[in-house]
């Protein structure tokens, strides 16, 4: 039996939901960041699945661009995390509730 398109979409939905749950329940800012990466990857799986099942390369180009955006996000996000840690000596998001470094 061949894997159907709906299987991939279901897997992607499960991964995305796990990522959302992690962003909500985690308090460590690095762990929240990794859960955001997980959500991005779930969306990438959807793109590649549609691209493969409809024989269209556009979806894979989107994945390529999503990956570069994720890399830029990683650089800036980790810069912000280091800056917060330098000022507050903690990575707890509840401690960083003021919109000011």
């Amino acid at each position: 039996m061949e894997p159907q398109l709906s299987w991939y979409l279901a897997l992607s939905a499960v991964l995305f939901t796990i990522g959302v749950t992690g962003v909500i329940i985690k308090r460590n800012i690095i762990a929240m960041f990794m859960c955001i990466e997980l959500m991005l990857n779930a969306v990438n799986l959807t793109f590649v699945a549609f691209s493969s099942f409809f024989q269209d390369v556009t979806g894979q180009l989107f994945v390529f661009i999503v990956m570069t955006v994720a890399a830029a996000e990683a650089a800036v996000g980790l810069g912000i995390i280091i800056s917060i840690f330098r000022n507050r000596e903690t990575l707890d998001v509840d401690e960083a509730s003021i919109l000011k470094l």
Binding site: M1, E2, P3, Q4, L5, S6, W7, Y8, A10, L11, A13, V14, L15, I18, G19, T21, G22, K26, N28, I30, A31, F33, M34, C35, E37, L38, N41, N44, L45, V48, S51, S52, F53, F54, Q55, V57, T58, Q60, L61, V63, F64, I65, M67, T68, V69, A70, A71, A72, A74, A75, V76, L78, G79, I81, I82, S83, F85, R86, N87, L91
Partner: protein, 219 residues
């Protein structure tokens, strides 16, 4: 056969994703996340997208996760401690809402007829580097260029955020004499409430204190 492979890799992905959320130590979360990326790369190979699979391993599991692990090591993150849960009265509401959500998903899976599309097989030219490159540099050239500008902005932003001190330009000159400067000029980590000051007798000494030391021409 392919279905078995799918179940294997999907199970690996879901298990590692649960590990990312369940682990209390961020380093273990990062390693679980690498497991998710690798199993997703295997699924991409099954979907006849070898280029995206390779980029997934190189960029995600390689570059981005090395950066994350590096920051975890640099900041010496402690494990999350257990805390009492706040807003306990929301727990039954959450269970009810998630039950409704699961019921909706099950309803859709039952009623909507699945589409009969066949996936690309290994012999197709959809996912190979040639087709991706030719599309990326012809039809989708504008998004590509915009992405490069985005990365340039990210580089500048990351450098601005992460640099320490250096707020005073090297062209600044302190008037010779007993100049009093707030300590926050030298060390931005010190808040503005801190009223301690540094004292310098000459420009060279002030430059040394401010960390903008350089062989000066006059003085």
């Amino acid at each position: 056969m392919l279905a078995l492979l799918f179940i294997l890799f999907a199970g690996m992905a879901i298990g590692c994703a649960l590990g990312v959320v369940a682990q209390r130590n961020p380093l273990y979360s990062a390693i679980s996340l690498i497991g998710v990326f690798v199993s997703l790369a295997c699924l991409y190979v099954m979907l006849a997208a070898p280029f995206i699979a390779a980029v997934q391993v190189i960029v995600y599991a390689g570059a981005i996760m090395v950066l994350v692990v590096f920051v975890i090591m640099l900041l010496n993150v402690e494990e999350e401690e257990h805390r009492r849960t706040r807003l306990k009265f929301l727990l039954p509401v959450a269970i009810g809402l998630s039950a409704i959500f699961i019921a909706e998903v099950a309803f859709i899976l039952m009623t909507v007829a699945p589409t009969r599309v066949t996936p690309a097989t290994a012999g197709t030219s959809v996912g190979v580097t040639h087709s991706i490159g030719s599309q990326l540099f012809t039809q989708y050239l504008l998004p590509f260029e915009i992405t490069s500008i985005l990365i340039l902005m990210a580089i500048v932003g990351a450098m601005t955020l992460a640099r320490r001190g250096g707020l005073l330009s090297s062209a600044a000159r302190v008037v010779p004499g007993a100049a009093q400067l707030p300590l926050s000029l030298v060390d931005p980590a010190v808040g503005h409430e801190d009223t301690r000051a540094i004292t310098a007798e000459s420009t060279a000494e002030a430059a040394h204190l401010l960390g903008v030391d350089q062989p000066s021409k006059r003085d």
